[in-house]
Amino acid sequence: MGTSLIVRAATRVLVGLLLVFSIYMLLRGHNEPGGGFIGGLIGATGFILYAIAHGCRAAREALRVEPQTIAMVGLGIALFAGLVPMMIGDALFEGMWLFLAADPADPNDKGIPLSNILVFDVGVYLVVLGSVLTLVLALEEEV
């Protein structure tokens, strides 16, 4: 392994941080800067860093599934999130919300907002993560 000790040591900490941060970006995206696209890119950066430090095979093992599978699953999730409202008679990709534990009296209290929009964003996250990793890992293995 030709990578420097510093990179490898830093990677150990950074990868975990990047992945947690990517999920944080994904979840807060609806109200603050962030979202599935950005989150997916950050997550991919984490794995790319890991691949640079420990090699592509290690990165693939850490992923456990092929990155292209992740992308396809993400696409499926996004499609599913869009199809659900249509199944109950709404328009395709219509937003559906459920405010868990919200106080009905207070219009500003949204409790824990759950929605198919979030599911869709998770799909976007996975597609971006999977696609970028598919590309980068294949390219790096090629070189």
Binding site: P33, F37, S115, G130, T134
Partner: protein, 747 residues
Amino acid sequence: MAAGSAKRRPLGGTPGIVSIALPAAAFAWFCLLIPQVANGPLFWSVEWVPSLGVEIGLWIDGLSLLFALLITGIGTLVALYSSAYLGGDDHYTRFVCYLLAFMVGMLGLVLSDNLLALFVFWEVTTISSYLLIGYKADDPASRRNALQALVVTGTGGLAFLAGIVLIGAAGGGFQISQLPDLSEHVLYPAILVLVLAGAFTKSAQVPFHFWLPNAMAAPTPVSAYLHSATMVKGGVYLMARLNPSLGNSEAWTIALCAFGGVTAVFASIMALKQTDIKQVLAWTTLMALGTLTLFIGAGTEAAIKGMVVFLLVHALYKAALFMVAGLIDHGTGTRDANVLSGLMKAMPITFIAAIVAGASMAGLPPLFGFLGKEYLYDAALEQDVLSRGGVLWVAGCAFAASALMVAAAGIVAWRPFVGPKAETPVKPHEGPWGMWIGPLILAALGVAFGVIPSLSTIVLEPAATAVMGAPVPVELKLWAGVTPALILSLITFATGFLLYWKHRAIRRGLGRLRDRADPAWDGIMDGVAGGSKWLAKTVQAGSLRTYIFITFLTLAAVLLTTIWRTGALPSAPPLDDLRLKHWSILIFITAGAAVAAVTNSRMTAIAALGTVGVGVALVFIIFGAPDVAITQLLIEVLQVVLVAVAMLKLPHMKPDVVSRIRGWDLILALSIGAMTTVVMLMVMTTPLDLRITQFFEATSAPIAHGRNIVNVILVDFRALDTFGEIAVVAIAALGAYALLRGTRRNT
């Protein structure tokens, strides 16, 4: 399927039996329709593509029925013949499929009432005949000739399609049975040219004739089928079919008479020149097609009558003679007219079929061919519509072609069987029954129709009526007294026998006469291939730099043209608003771009470009688009990583090469930048429509429950767009993955 085991199967096994039984059943069905059609056309239809007005309408009138009977009747005999001729072949099943596909296409062609449906079947015959001609696919000549037939008839087919569209526009519909007389319409000249382009290529009129003799690369049953009764007659059918709506003009008459006459005479001269008996037959087929075209063009009642009779005559004798040629090939191993001789004893049944069919081809009484020729002469001499010159032309062409036909018939059907026994590659022997039964039946029909002409009139009269668009009584008589036609016939025989007697001398004399159409076709194809190669080499240079350069050069050209056409240049924006942070970012970006432009290291250039990207991200931050900025930043990082990884293995840049091309790159880059700036400034001058922005601002939080408008737009308001985009991202990644993996496997 092993060749050995298949050989012993009678009738070619299951595929062979199917290929014989289907057309036979269809033939029987069409025979049952004869009395009904004699009383008036039959019609029924099914909707196919209602939105385009395409329906599969079956319109069976006399002309359709005549063709359908030929297609299924001769088709049955050809299928039987093939089962003996090709039954042992490894690809016999494939052959049967092609043959049946062709048959279906041909039947659809002659039975369709809708021009669009007719065109689809027309193309089916083109494609299946391509497959049939190229059946011996391991032979390069066979492939080349098949492709030639496909390109020539396919190109004609495209012209025909354009013609159909115009007919639809001019005639108000695609129903052939409903078409009005179009010869006065303003679109008529275009329709005429396009439709005739289709018909002339399909029916191999000079100068599109060259593919037909070359199509003899096909197995003999294919030649017997495609080139006697069917495919090449597709064009004739089309002209006959459209005669009522297109045929009432002088242009039609002149075009058909000119092309038909030249084809008939030229082809029959070329036929004498050939030594391969199959080639002789191929060229005489051209002669027949020319004659049919000539008489459709002449267009009088007598001419149409003669045309219809000759159509049937020719189909019967030509199919028989092609099969005879195959029998001779099979029995002796050669088709060379100079070698073949004295086969009468060894191949008696073939000889009988050949001599009877050949006599019909020569037009000898009492065979059907005699009637055919008589009625052609009748029409040529009696017509009163054309001028004297026209009569001379039609009669002259018919006479010359008929006389040459007598000689050609002698070469094919008489010459190989008489004289001393010759040494042939295979000891001459008779073919199996499946091969001689077909020619024998066809020859017998030639006798029967000749002796009892009324047998054929029940089909021919409705056919002539359909072509003419008005009732045409057809009454055929073997002996009509001493008429001008009979006298001309006698002169024809005398001339023909003289030509046959001297045919070897004539052949030597014709030695220098070459058909230049075929080499010309090669020249055209080479030109097309060369041009494509040049274009591909120029545009697809294989160098990424060139691709990018061409792409941006095009962009620059388009932008420049647009700006030049629009004229007004935007005024320079005020620079007073710019504060320190703006200036710093500007310098940051410019410095990055400058470094990228001058450095001699790829890594430096990539890093410098990354700087530019980060600078752009800063711009986004200043103008309040944090989401875009984050994305830009991440993409920039990823891009630098990706490109750097890819560039690790690239060789160092060569300074001399770089300095040579860099100047041009710089000019292009600067002009693209300048023009983009101009375009941006122009955009800024038009007032921004804020309605959509306001809508999103107003509804994002209350309706979509999100304060980050960008993200709400992405995942809620415009979720369908986003879904499309992520699908593109995933597919692009997969494509790139496949490409990278593909190169790995090859190295």
